[in-house]
Amino acid sequence: MCENQSQHGPQEHCSTYIDSQQPRVFLSCWVNGEIISAQIDPMITLLNFLRQGLKLLGTKEGCGEGECGACTIIMNGEAVNACLILAVEAQDAEITTVEGLSTGGQLSILQSEFVSQDALQCGFCTPGMLMSARALLDRTLDPTDPEIKEAIAGNLCRCTGYSPIIAAISSTAKKEREERK
């Protein structure tokens, strides 16, 4: 049974989380611009820490083995599968989840483009897809279609056929380039 040792510690009952029952360790990191400090199970994955500990439920889990990309977040500028990373590896890291994409009640350009291009259907892969896209666009605002396809190649989507997603990422790049001018 997991113990609730801090306000950010995992709750007693957690969806796909199994407590290692090892002594807690201290974690401090930035999540969506907020500093977080918590006593955590050293074996908890970053995904479960975000979902269960911080109740950031936007990040999904589709396989738990790093094969589907539903749990993609950005850590220190890189899109990563949060299900494959231990929370302790995020010490001092800067993390962005889907909840951190928009500010002030305003959708980001990327999110708005996903809406207007109909780049989602069931929506379960969408948070992870958005984060892979964001990480790409943070690297380059002039991505080619092959670069976009490669950036989201680890994000499975069973609904959309990917084309509307690629179009949305491409049009976001264009709009963000214009905004920068």
Binding site: M1, C2, Q11, E12, H13, C14, S15, T16, Y17, I18, D19, Q21, L56, L57, G58, T59, K60, G62, C63, G64, E65, E67, C68, A70, T97, V98, E99, L101, S102, L107, Q111, F114, V115, S116, D118, L120, Q121, C122, G123, F124, C125, T126, P127, I148, K149, E150, A153, G154, N155, L156, C157, R158, C159, T160, G161, Y162, S163, P164, I165, I166
Partner: protein, 793 residues
């Protein structure tokens, strides 16, 4: 239907739940938790077929934190959509590897998993039925009690003392005579493996049973909340009112979440745990190996044709390797009975469609069920016949395609409102520049470049597969400020049902779209009834119900306005959110002023809250006659066609789709962008079935690829270079604004069109799916070796 300018219909507003989904705020059952919730795990059968001799739970029960343990012996309930053949847990016998045998609910997953590891089960292993031929032989029976099973009579036909869960037949004309008239008879066998639906959210369910009453509440990732309610109530012997089923957003369904799956298990666990909520989340491996798939199938087809290309007779046997339980499988077999010859007029026909029990993971509905499979057989056969006749497969199809006046295989007469498969085929052929098969010489020249190109075409058809009394309903209510809330019973799993129903309600009421809202959570305690969100029938049926509900609101408002304006109802009309006198538009009263009842200046009031009610029940459908399959099973046919151009790397066998064009006669696209979304997404799902997906089993019946490592679905790297969706609009006279469904259709015939194009490219015919690069490369090598020259015919 005259051309009419619509305010919302035919436009493409963005989907109404999109903001929730891009902001991470959309809730799925996967995200739900309740105080004191327990977590469930199951112990799976390690054998394909075995007797359960004993189960030792003593150590698991002694574990602290375990709140309930159940075996099949505790659960004398039978479940099934069409045949009651499945327990909540295996009882007495296991019938596939992965079947749940024991279930545990514990305070956390660690404890539940530990408890599972402490359970000991003794089995007596039995010989298993693992192939279609073994199933047909019937020496070993998957269900020894098949003769006693309760099933839907006159729709399904289980055969006594056999593994045949249902044998559905269609007989039209006289095949003996038809074959006698033929100049050429062509016979082929084609097959395809079982595949998985792969929703990104696996099956998840939570149940909370009231320990003091019979009441149970369920939150589930389901396409069929009302189906779950009905079947669960029946199985447990409680009333439907005792069961509440809530479905928030669901992370993909594709048919795999239709019917009833994990819900009964969490209900009985919650009951056993004195009412604590119990949650179960299928792991990805369980999603593959425990939860149902699409059945494997073998089709044997024999077609008689005249030299001029006219089909005279067709005899087809479909054998479905449908796994351990019937579930939707028998209805998949039945779909082949009335749709199994494709979009063609066949004067003399016999179809035998046999849904077979085997000791493998069972099968269920998967997007367009039965149709991708039957069209793999039919649309390949059409090309194979054209090759034998040395005829252009386009011309050959056009000679036999369904047209106004044609009679379908179940005896339905195609009329001017039925849609036009010929127009779909013509549109895609034009789009890809179809000019007939390439010659052997052309193939040889391009082969030397290392990359060969080919084009292919294929048609398709599908009608909703559903009971003849399938019904749906809608409730429309005003808020005091004149906004409208629409309640429906359907599930929006991404297909856009909510958006489309908002468009329809706003159109009929002539209101701004943003003032109409469909509620996004379906709750059987609150929402009006819908049979199930399956079969591409909701735009049609829901659209009719919402239209009628909105018209009901209008007529109620006119009744009230008639008193206020002192004018007969028939002189009133509506527009701009007002009811007004046709002749005197300034004499008007606003929707808002009537919404909750009209208040006069002196304080008198009349009317009351306006609540629109709309229902739709399938009209005119009949049972099919048991011997010949004749009758009217189809609410509406949506016809379509694909055309493809692809390029094959002759060394590696890798295929790039250069262009795929897919046309559907949707009658009227209520929201063209959503229709195109279904097409683009569905085509890629079809390409998964075509190129990469398929279950592999060991000799013992173990699924060998139950993970994304070994079971690949298309990624962004696998998409066609260009996809061209084409929406053809020949209105369905009784469809809402002329509309027909198109949700499932785009994946049908995709494998067929690919294999047809591979023949054009390589001169090689493929008969088995999937068309992996390895299979293609080996076939090229074999063809070269056999003919000592590349690509001979």
């Amino acid at each position: 239907m005259p051309e009419k300018l619509f305010r919302h219909v035919g436009k493409s507003p963005t989907r109404s739940e999109a903001i929730e989904k891009v902001s991470g705020r959309a809730n799925y059952v996967f995200d739900l938790e309740f105080p004191g919730m327990l977590y469930a795990k199951v112990l799976h059968s390690p054998y394909a077929h075995a007797e359960i001799l004993s189960v030792d739970l003593s150590e698991a029960k002694a574990l602290t934190g375990v709140k309930a343990i159940l075996t099949g012996e505790d659960l004398p309930y039978l479940l099934g959509l069409y045949m009651l053949d499945k327990g909540i847990l295996a009882r007495g016998k296991v019938r596939y590897i992965g079947e749940p045998v024991v279930a545990v609910a514990a305070i956390d997953l660690r404890t539940a998993e530990k408890a599972i590891s402490l359970i000991k089960v003794d089995y007596k292993v039995l010989p298993a039925v693992l192939t279609i031929d073994e199933a047909l032989k019937g020496e070993i029976l998957v269900h020894k009690d098949i003769n006693d099973l309760e099933y839907v009579k006159n729709v399904f036909f289980p055969q006594p003392d056999s593994n045949i869960a249902s044998w559905n037949k269609a007989i039209k004309g006289d095949i003996k005579q038809g074959f006698a008239e033929a100049d050429v008879i062509i016979e082929n066998e084609l097959s395809l493996p079982a595949v998985a639906h792969v929703p990104l959210e696996t099956h998840v369910a939570i149940a909370k049973a009231d320990p003091f009453t019979k009441r149970v509440e369920i939150w589930t990732s389901s396409q069929s909340p009302f189906g779950v309610r009905q079947m669960l109530a029946k199985a447990l012997g409680i009333s439907q009112g005792d069961v509440r089923v809530v479905v928030p957003h669901i992370g993909g369904g594709f048919g795999g979440k239709a019917g009833i799956h994990l819900e009964p298990l969490v209900v009985v666990l919650s009951r056993a745990a004195r009412g604590k909520p119990v949650k179960i989340i299928a792991t990805r491996e369980e999603e593959f190996s425990q939860l149902p798939s699409r059945a494997a199938m073998r089709g044997r087809v024999k077609t008689g044709v005249k030299y001029d290309g006219k089909i005279t007779a067709s005899e087809i046997t479909f054998d479905w390797d449908s796994g351990a339980y019937a579930d939707y499988g028998v209805n998949v077999g039945r779909a082949a009975q009335y749709s199994g010859a494709g979009a063609y007029e066949i004067p003399n026909l016999e179809i035998n469609s046999r849904t077979l029990y085997t000791n493998k993971v069972y099968s269920t509905a998967y997007r367009g069920f039965g149709h991708l499979e039957t069209h793999w057989v039919i649309e390949r056969q059409m090309d194979l016949i054209a090759q034998a006749l040395k005829m252009d497969p386009y011309e050959f199809r056009m000679k036999n395609i369904l047209r106004e006046g044609s009679v379908t295989i179940s005896g339905e007469i195609i009329n001017q409102y039925s849609g036009r498969p010929d127009q779909c085929l013509a549109a895609v052929a034009k789009e890809i520049g179809w000019t007939g098969y390439r010659s052997k010489e052309e193939r040889e020249v391009s082969f030397k470049t290392g990359k060969v190109r080919g084009k292919g075409i294929a048609c398709l058809q599908k009608a909703p597969a559903m009971p003849s009394n399938t019904a749906t309903s809608a409730l429309l209510q005003f808020d005091a400020d004149g906004n409208v809330r629409v309640m429906i019973g359907a599930i929006d799993m991404g297909q856009g049902a909510m958006t489309v129903m908002e468009q329809i309600a706003a159109e009929v009421l002539d209101m701004p779209l943003e003032k109409v809202r469909v509620s996004s959570e379906t709750d059987t305690d609150k929402n009006p009834y819908d049979w199930s969100t399956v079969a591409s029938k909701y735009t049609f049926m829901g659209g009719k119900a919402v239209t009628r509900g909105a018209m009901d609101m209008l007529s109620q408002m006119k009744e009230v306005a008639s008193q206020i304006l002192r004018c007969p109802v028939d002189e009133l009309t509506h527009g701009q959110e007002k009811i007004f006198i046709r002749q005197n538009p300034h004499k008007a009263v606003s929707y808002q002023d009537i919404a909750m009842g009209y208040l006069y200046d002196n304080g008198n009031s009349i009317g009351g809250p306006i609540i629109g009610r709309g229902v739709y029940i399938a009209e005119g459908l009949t049972f099919l006659d048991p011997d010949k399959g004749q009758g009217l099973p189809a609410l509406d046919w949506t016809f379509g066609a694909h055309g493809v151009e692809l390029e094959v790397d002759v060394e590696t066998g890798e295929v790039q789709i250069l262009k795929i064009s897919s046309a559907f006669d949707v009658g009227k696209a209520i929201n063209p962008k959503l229709c195109e979304g279904q097409i683009i997404g569905g085509v890629l799902q079809g390409l998964g079935s075509a190129f990469m997906e398929g279950f592999k089993f060991s000799a013992e019946g173990r699924l060998l690829n139950p993970s994304f490592m070994d079971y690949k679905i298309p990624t962004s790297q696998d998409i066609p270079t260009i996809v061209v969706p084409i929406l053809i609009e020949n209105p369905q006279a009784d469809g809402p604004f002329g509309a027909r469904g198109v949700g499932e259709h785009p994946m049908i015939s995709v494998p067929s069109v690919i294999a047809n194009a591979l023949y054009d490219a390589l001169g090689i015919n493929f008969y088995e799916l999937p068309l992996s690069s390895e299979k293609i490369a080996l076939a090229i090598a074999r063809s070269e070796a056999e003919h000592k020259e590349p690509l001979s015919e």
